[in-house]
């Protein structure tokens, strides 16, 4: 069985699917990615499907599952590079890819994750300000 490589680029895990995946390969990717998120502590996952000439219901479900697993492990997933014909077919098939964020290419996907993370860090400090030291009586 082929395995899809997972690359770490800075704080992001990049998965570029270059093969026509069998169902087993897709399931293995799900598991490998969960392990890598925990091992690296990365907060962003980009799945590049530029090379995929179809996305059927099995692969669609895998993408949704990966996004859910990543979220539970404190990482955002962005699917990038979907071909126009694939998008048309997916919608007609009835797959809505619920909960999946998309971007047109890897660069925009990285921007999306960076913006997300900046907001998140900002919220953390904004909602929970460090109290000013008070003078003790």
């Amino acid at each position: 069985m082929e395995r899809v490589p997972i690359l770490k680029i800075g704080e992001i895990l990049l998965v570029s699917i270059q093969v026509d995946m069998s169902d087993q390969t897709a399931v293995a990717l799900q598991e490998d990615l969960a392990e890598r998120i925990v091992a690296t502590g990365c907060h962003g996952v980009i799945i590049d499907i530029t090379a995929l000439d179809i996305v059927d219901s099995f692969v669609g479900r895998m993408l949704s599952t990966i996004a859910s697993i990543s979220r539970v492990l404190d990482a955002e997933t962005v699917v990038v590079g979907m071909r126009p014909a694939v998008a048309i077919t997916l919608v007609e098939l009835g797959l809505s890819l619920n909960g999946i964020r998309t971007a047109l290419n890897v660069e925009r996907g990285m921007e999306l994750i960076a913006i997300d993370r900046a907001d998140y860090d900002h919220d953390e400090t904004g909602d929970d300000p460090i109290p000013e030291p008070t003078a003790s009586p």
Binding site: S22, D53, A85, T89, E92
Partner: protein, 139 residues
């Protein structure tokens, strides 16, 4: 008319593993390109074939897929037959409903595949296996 003689003959692929589902996709893609379907129509018919070949494997316990180039005098097209001798489908209307599944999937395989092609014929009965024929015509 290049390779017309080859195209007119059905090409068969047995489906016994999920690697075979990948092979079915590749075979369907090759014939869809040869009969000059548009890129969107190629994508639709390959996706439909992927769903139905997976059904043949998962629900039918394996079977065969036959792919043939067809011509109705006005348009060229691709016809694909998925046959298994599995348990068959008892309630066809229910099986063709979006979201209905007995296998833990999304329940879009059969209903979605039907939407992606021009013609969809299904012959099935409990204990008699399932035979699905789909056709996609060039525009």
């Amino acid at each position: 008319m290049t390779s017309g003689a080859d195209l007119g003959r059905p090409q068969a692929q047995t489906v016994g593993s999920d690697e075979d589902v990948v092979r079915v996709r590749q075979l369907v893609r090759t014939v869809a390109v040869a009969v000059r379907l548009s890129l969107v129509d190629q994508t639709k018919v390959v996706t439909a074939a992927s769903e139905l070949a997976r059904n043949t494997l998962v629900y039918g316990g394996g079977g065969t897929v036959e792919v043939i180039a067809v011509d109705n005098g006005r348009r060229a097209g691709i016809q694909i037959v998925f046959a298994d001798s599995g348990p068959g489908i008892a309630d066809l209307d229910l099986a063709l409903t979006d979201g209905y599944t007995t296998g833990g999937g999304l329940g879009l395989g059969l209903s979605g595949a039907r939407r992606l092609v021009d013609e969809f014929d299904i012959q099935t009965a409990p204990g008699q296996g399932t035979r699905i024929t789909i056709t996609k015509w060039s525009r």
